[in-house]
Amino acid sequence: MVYLFAAFLVLWSITFGYLFILGGRQRQLSQQLASLRSQRAAPAEAPRDRAMPEEG
């Protein structure tokens, strides 16, 4: 019975461990994507921002 319990414990530990790693990787990638997209958008907006006071 000890081996049965241990086998199930290890099986579900690996499963939830893997899901935990995937969840972490997903969150990290979402942040990276948001950051990279905002970096790409920033140079296009910057000149317009700088130009606005002169126009005003």
Partner: protein, 224 residues
């Protein structure tokens, strides 16, 4: 699968969680106690489905690799990678649960008999596949090399499956000659467990594919 909506994915996760819950109930409270091995035999209801999902995932990876080599579309590469990674996790679980069963039944954690030896080789092949992918940085070449490796590496799967039929082994043979060595009640529980693990594989695959897509986007944005 990458285009599945959040609702589809949540539904798949919910269904697989419920079926796994039912499977646990069936395994511990409904399946009859095996006469020779006793309660230890119940490991088998998760050992066999883990091995089945491992084989299925590696087969999906094999087919996706072939499709990548033919069409050169990155979605097939993402599917091959995602499924191989999940396959390796389930093969690992199959090996470990089998090892506990071996200790309780044979008195040893491991023996170099044909099924266990070919399982170790299979595990090493797919662990190397994932390592190889991480080691290669050049996009395009990495995907091609990985696809060829995956197609060639898949040869180990049918050899592993057939090992207990081709060679003399101490590993139990559950299915042979179109039938099974289980009682009908045991067989019903086993089939339910296989279905629940397959649904769980699909749920994890949908998550892993989303990650593979995001990894590709990050890589593209960095090098553009």
């Amino acid at each position: 699968m990458e285009r599945w909506t959040r609702t589809h994915r949540n539904l798949l996760w919910a269904v697989s969680a419920v079926t796994i819950g039912i499977a646990l109930f069936l395994v511990f409270l409904v399946a009859p106690r095996e006469a020779t091995m006793g309660d230890m035999q119940r490991v088998f209801y998760f050992h066999v489905p883990a091995a089945w999902v491992g084989y299925l995932a590696l087969f999906v990876s094999f087919v996706a690799s072939l499709l990548y080599l033919r069409r050169r579309e990155s979605r097939w590469d993402r599917l091959a990678l995602s499924s191989a990674e999940i396959g390796l996790v389930f093969i690992t679980e199959g090996i470990i649960t089998g090892s506990f069963w071996a200790k309780a039944t044979w008195g040893v954690w491991w023996t170099w008999e044909p099924r266990l030896t070919t399982s170790a080789v299979l595990w090493a092949i797919y662990a190397s596949y994932l390592t190889l992918r991480r080691a290669m940085e050049e996009q395009g070449r990495r995907e091609r090399v990985a696809a060829v490796y995956s197609v060639l590496g898949f040869v180990a799967v049918p050899i592993n499956f057939m090992a207990i039929r081709w060679w003399r082994t101490v590993h139990p043979l559950v299915f042979e000659g179109g039938g099974s060595n289980l009682t009908p009640a045991m067989l019903r529980v086993l089939i339910f467990c296989i279905v629940s693990f397959t649904l769980f594989y699909l749920a994890v695959l949908s998550l892993r594919l989303g990650i593979a897509w995001a990894e590709e986007q990050v890589e593209q944005l960095r090098y553009e």
